[in-house]
Every structure is written in structure tokens, then in C-alpha cells.
Amino acid sequence: MSRLTPAEEKARLRWQCRRGLLELDFILAEFLEQHYDDLSDALQQQFVCLLEQSDPDLQRWLISAELTDFLELREVIGLIRRL
């Protein structure tokens, strides 16, 4: 597929925020709409990578506050949990 424009990329992420768990729908979509645009490139990339993880993992990290082994995701997870 050809490269996406920033608006298209955000639209893509919006669909990636559609999950199997209502809890994640809420947390992820809210973060995307309210904070994603203000993030640094590095954090935006962390968020993109976060969305590729499985629902139970996201649930563990974002809801159950378990620490991820994924060092490179810790910052964005911490941010989502604080906001």
C-alpha cells in the first residue's frame, strides 16, 4: 500500500482502537482523540506499536497496571495510565 497521509494514518489508528473489550475501546479512543496529536514522534510511534499488541496484554498493562517487559512501550503506557 502507498504511504498514508497524516490524516489517513490517524484514521487507520482510529480503526485499530476498535477492540474486543469495551474498556479498551474507551481508553484507547479517548487517548487517540485527545492526546495523540500533541505527542512527540517517538511517543506516537510507541502508541502505534502498542495498538499492535493483544487485548489481554493491553488490559494487563493499561488496566491491571502490570509492568510490561516491552521496555520501549513503558513510557506511553505510563502516560495513558496517568491521563
Binding site: A7, R14, R18, D55, P56, I63
Partner: protein
């Protein structure tokens, strides 16, 4: 338009769809699975509680007791042939999953651990049974993950992030495949198939307070309606008694299985009054109704007296942390309290649709072709439905916890097996019906035509619909409230014609998907409201203050809603099991 052909098409990649696909791919058929989200993000992932099977690992159990509980739980609206079939198949199904790598929690002796859930009994209504098998609190994910891996191995062709728009159908009523939209590009694709399985899951998003994820918009059921197929028993929508008040997220029944209980504003453990034996583990409809009754009679909690409390703190931090870890954090994030210290505010949340696309016990879609008894269940050749979108009917008027994962796995598998035979006997694709394709394409594109009058947004209309459904087709249902609901809904549905997209891009245009989903929500909302307003009795999840009793004389029958003219008809419940004696209707006391 891009067109592809497969032996079998499965719409939906939840537990039902993927278990069917696996049978087919393993039998060397060319099988396509279409899913609007990546398969392991299907809603099955949310099922944390577990799956029922009478393994008898923790205490004595038999499939026949499981069958009794399911028939009783269904308030005698379930078809007893299908229920017997499911309860017997439960045992090999769970062992097959174990074999496929699902990591079930175990007892010290190495056998699968089983926890008690609401509505489970020994000896046909005796002591509490323990029948639910779980993989810690991620059963649904473990199942999806294993099935996905197995399907990849078996070379199932996945169309990930494709949205099914409408079934393609010929004049004789044969289903020829589906028109789908590739979400990434906005391009339509025609997928032709010899046999088609609808496995698109439920539609809780039709209500404002729901435990269902945003993807649960009843798409497959609405597609069936538009193809002229009725929906069965849509008035029966299960409200889970314990959703986080004001939000909808579920607090699993497992909490009460582990010893949590409900209290009202006076601190009273009120379920003792409603169900002296089972108390807080009574069937879901019984508990939901009790909660709303407490609130209606002024014993609700909080400043608005609009919820009750679920007490867990007496279990101690250790038990909560070990057995119910995700519940604790969920309560912190979405209710702002720590259940180890404070009780959780809860309210019934729209959770599960018992109704759906009518099928027989082989998951073949059936519909009436005439008024005679033997014409009531005519099979639509080559069309199947399984999972929450289908109605076999094993849950009747009320589903028991842990029986839904069972339903999707058992009937998904059976659908796969039946399709193998069907394709063997019907090896050719039927000729395409262009008129049907054109209708589906119109539906896809019409959101961009110039509006007649003021253009409305999807969001606005969806909120209105969800509120209307909650107010007029929710937990308590009186004649006046529901009749008004039907009229309001018919009026609101007209506004759908004015909805236009605010954004017209092609790439990942989620606005277009949401518009299509909204139309589907209207279609199933109408089915629910019409069927509910017309059933003049209380049975299972359908509770009416003006007709408080079950009326077996007049209403032990399934409803069928047809979209054209918002018409209803009815058909008999199948009360004769396959090999055992029928369980005659009795009053349900827990």
C-alpha cells in the same frame, strides 16, 4: 469490481467463525474468513468467565443435569433437541480445546479447575454445581488465539479488516456470497461462495449501557433481515446484573461465585428475599430484575439512588488479588473506587442477545415457508449461522453464564461439518445475481448522495437510538412504554435517510463504517422493540409488570420478526429432546 470465489465463506472471526473455518480448512476446502477487525480482537476475547461442560472435576456432574439447568434457565423457551445436543457435545468440545492448546486453569490433581456460576445445579435443581472451565481470566483470548493459530496452519484465507455490507442473493433465495468493503482502501469486493456462515456476534451497542465492545453492532443479523430472513426471539436481551454503573463494563459473575454479594442503600443483602436458595448466584434475569426493583422502590444507592452495591471487601485483599485481579483495577479506573475497601456501584448492563438468525441444531438457517407445522423450519440451502448472531435455540428466554462460549464453539464446529457435506453435494457456484449486487452497492454509496433537507450526523442519531432503546426496551417493560417506543423508533428510523458522511475519504474512513453500523443497529433495534411490545407475558429476560407471569398456554412459542412491514409471526418450541424425556415447564424458583 474485484471478485473472488471460495468454497465456503465465513463472515466473522470470533469463536464461532474460527471453529467453523478450522473444520473446513482441515477438510481441504477453500475457505474465506471475513472480519471487520483483526480476528483476535473479536469480542470473544472479552469472555473471561469461562465455558460450561459437565466434566465433574470439582464435584459430581452430568450432561443431563447441565441440560436440565439450561432448559430451566431458558424459561422453557429453548429447543430441547438443540440443548441436549449442546450439553452432550460440551464435554468433547472442551477436551478438544485443551488438546488444541488452550491453557485451562487446573486443580492440584492436574484436572481442569471448574468454578460455580449462576444457574448451575446438581441432581436436577439440587445443590450448586461447579461446571465452568476457565483459562485464568482470559478464557476467550486463549480460545481465539489457539483457533487463529490452527487456522493459519490449516491455510484458511483471512480477509482482515473487511466490512461485510450485504448478502448477495438470487431470486430463488440462495445466498451467493457477500459484498464487502476493504476498510483500508474503501474498495468494494465481491466474495462468491457455495456456502456461507454468518458468525458476526451480538449487538449490545443498540443500548446505551452495555458490556459489549463498539464492534458489536449486529451486522450479520441486519444483513439477514435485509435478505428477507426473519430474526427469532429478539425480545430476549439479557441484561447482566452487574455492570459498572453509568459505564456498562462488566463485573463478572465470577465475583459472586467467589463470594461477593449485592447490598441496597440499607446495607441489606437483598437477594436473600428474591432467591432464598441461590441468592446472589440466581439466574441473571432474576438478579437484574431484583436490582431494578430495589432502585424503583427507593432503595438505590448514591446521590441519585440509581444503582446498588456489590460487596467484595469481606473476601480480603489476597483473594481479590489472586482470583479477581482485573476486577480490582477496572473498578479503580472506571468507577473510581478500590473494591478491597469499598463496594462497587453496579447497574444492569445490556449484555447478551438470546435471539438471532433462526437455525436448526446443525446451524442451518431455517425459516417458515408456510403456515403448516412441517413448513415452519424450512432449511435455506447453503446458509448457516452460529454464535451470538444465531438462535438455535439453546438459550431460549435467558442464557446461563458460561453457556455462550459453549454455544459458539459447538455450533461453529457443527456448521463447519455440515458445510463440508453441503459443498460436496453442491460443487458448483450458482450464477451471480447482478440486481442483488447493485442493491448492496447502492447501500454502500448512498451516504454520499446530496441530502434531502438537513444532513444528520451518525453520532447524534446513534445516541438517540441507544437512549430510546434503553428507555423503551430495557429491563422493565410495560405496554405503554413499549408501544410508545415502537412508534418513536419508527419515526427515528426515517431520519436515517438524512444521515450523511462528514468525511468522504476512502482510506480507513471509519465514518462510513459507523454509518453502515448505525443502519444495522436500527434494523435490530426495531426487531427487539416490535417483538418485545407484542409478547404479553413475562418469561426469562422479558419481564413485564403488566403481565407478571409466564403464560405457557399462549406464549410458549418463538417469535419471528420480518423486516418488511415490521411483521411478526410465531413458531412452536421444540420440546422433544433427542434421547431423554422432555422437561415439562415448571415455575422457575432459585
Amino acid at each position: 469490481m474485484k471478485t473472488v470465489q471460495f468454497d465456503a465463506l465465513i463472515i466473522g472471526a470470533g469463536g464461532a467463525g474460527m471453529n467453523a473455518a478450522l473444520q473446513l480448512a482441515d477438510a481441504q476446502l477453500q475457505v474465506a474468513v471475513v472480519s471487520k477487525v483483526f480476528p483476535t480482537r473479536s469480542h470473544t476475547v472479552a469472555a473471561q468467565g469461562g465455558v460450561n461442560a459437565a466434566l465433574g472435576n470439582v464435584m459430581a456432574d452430568k450432561w443431563h443435569w447441565h441440560m436440565f439447568d439450561t432448559v430451566k434457565g431458558s424459561d422453557y423457551l429453548g429447543d430441547q433437541d438443540a440443548i441436549e445436543h449442546m450439553c452432550r457435545e460440551a464435554i468433547p468440545t472442551v477436551y478438544e480445546l485443551e488438546h488444541n492448546g488452550v491453557p485451562f486453569s487446573r486443580l492440584d490433581n492436574g484436572k481442569i479447575y471448574q468454578r460455580p456460576f449462576g444457574g448451575q445445579s446438581q441432581e436436577f435443581g439440587g445443590k450448586q454445581a461447579a461446571r465452568t472451565c476457565a483459562a485464568a481470566d482470559r478464557t476467550g483470548h486463549a480460545i481465539l488465539h489457539s483457533l487463529y493459530q490452527q487456522n493459519i496452519r490449516a491455510k484458511t484465507h483471512f480477509f482482515d479488516e473487511y466490512f461485510a455490507v450485504d448478502l448477495i442473493r438470487d431470486e430463488e433465495g440462495f445466498i451467493l456470497g457477500v459484498l464487502a468493503l476493504e476498510i483500508a482502501t474503501g474498495e468494494p469486493i465481491l466474495i462468491e461462495s457455495k456456502a456461507t456462515l454468518i458468525a458476526t456476534g451480538g449487538g449490545g451497542q443498540v443500548y446505551r449501557t452495555t458490556s459489549n465492545a463498539h464492534i458489536n453492532t449486529g451486522d450479520g443479523m441486519a444483513m439477514a433481515l435485509r435478505a428477507g430472513i426473519p430474526l427469532q426471539d429478539m425480545e430476549f436481551f439479557q441484561f447482566h446484573p452487574t455492570g459498572i454503573a453509568g459505564k456498562g463494563m462488566l463485573i463478572t459473575e465470577g465475583v459472586r461465585g467467589e463470594g461477593g454479594y449485592l447490598i441496597n442503600s440499607e446495607g441489606e443483602r437483598f437477594m436473600e428475599r428474591y432467591a432464598s436458595m441461590a441468592k446472589d448466584l440466581a439466574s441473571r434475569d432474576v438478579v437484574s430484575r431484583a436490582i431494578v426493583t430495589e432502585i424503583n422502590e427507593g432503595r438505590g444507592c448514591g446521590p441519585n439512588k440509581d444503582h446498588v452495591l456489590l460487596k467484595v471487601d469481606h473476601l480480603g485483599e489476597e483473594v481479590v488479588a489472586k482470583r479477581l485481579p482485573s476486577i480490582r483495577e477496572s473498578s479503580r479506573i472506571f468507577a473510581g473506587i478500590d473494591p478491597v475497601e469499598e463496594p462497587i456501584p453496579v447497574f444492569p448492563t445490556a449484555h447478551y442477545m438470546m435471539g438471532g438468525i433462526p437455525t436448526d441444531r446443525f446451524a442451518r438457517v431455517v425459516m417458515p415457508l408456510g403456515e403448516e407445522q412441517d413448513e415452519q423450519n424450512a432449511v435455506i440451502p447453503g446458509l448457516y449461522a452460529a454464535g451470538e448472531c444465531a438462535c438455535a435455540s439453546v438459550h431460549g428466554a435467558n442464557r446461563l453464564g458460561g453457556n455462550s462460549l459453549l454455544d459458539i464453539l459447538v455450533f461453529g464446529r457443527l456448521a463447519g461439518k455440515d458445510i463440508i457435506d453441503y459443498v460436496k453435494n453442491n460443487p458448483e457456484h450458482r450464477p451471480l445475481n447482478q440486481a442483488s449486487v447493485d442493491r448492496a452497492l447502492y447501500r454502500l454509496n448512498r451516504w454520499e448522495l446530496p441530502p434531502e433537507g438537513e444532513a444528520l450526523s451518525v453520532n447524534e442519531l446513534r445516541c438517540e437510538l441507544q437512549k430510546l432503546m434503553e428507555d423503551h426496551a430495557g429491563v422493565f417493560r410495560s405496554e405503554e412504554v413499549m408501544q410508545k417506543g415502537v412508534l418513536k423508533l419508527q419515526a427515528l428510523r426515517k431520519k436515517l435517510a438524512q444521515v450523511r458522511l462528514q468525511h468522504r475519504g476512502k482510506v480507513f474512513n471509519t465514518a462510513r463504517i459507523e454509518a453502515l453500523e448505525l443502519e444495522n443497529l436500527f434494523d435490530i433495534g426495531m426487531a427487539i422493540a416490535v417483538a418485545a411490545a407484542n409478547r404479553k407475558e413475562s418469561r426469562g429476560a422479558h419481564a413485564r409488570p403488566d403481565y407478571p407471569k409466564r403464560d405457557d398456554q399462549n406464549w410458549m412459542k418463538h417469535s419471528l420478526y420480518f423486516q418488511q412491514g415490521d411483521r411478526l409471526s410465531y413458531k412452536a418450541v421444540r420440546s422433544t429432546p433427542l434421547s431423554v424425556e422432555s422437561f415439562p415447564p415448571k415455575e422457575r424458583i432459585y
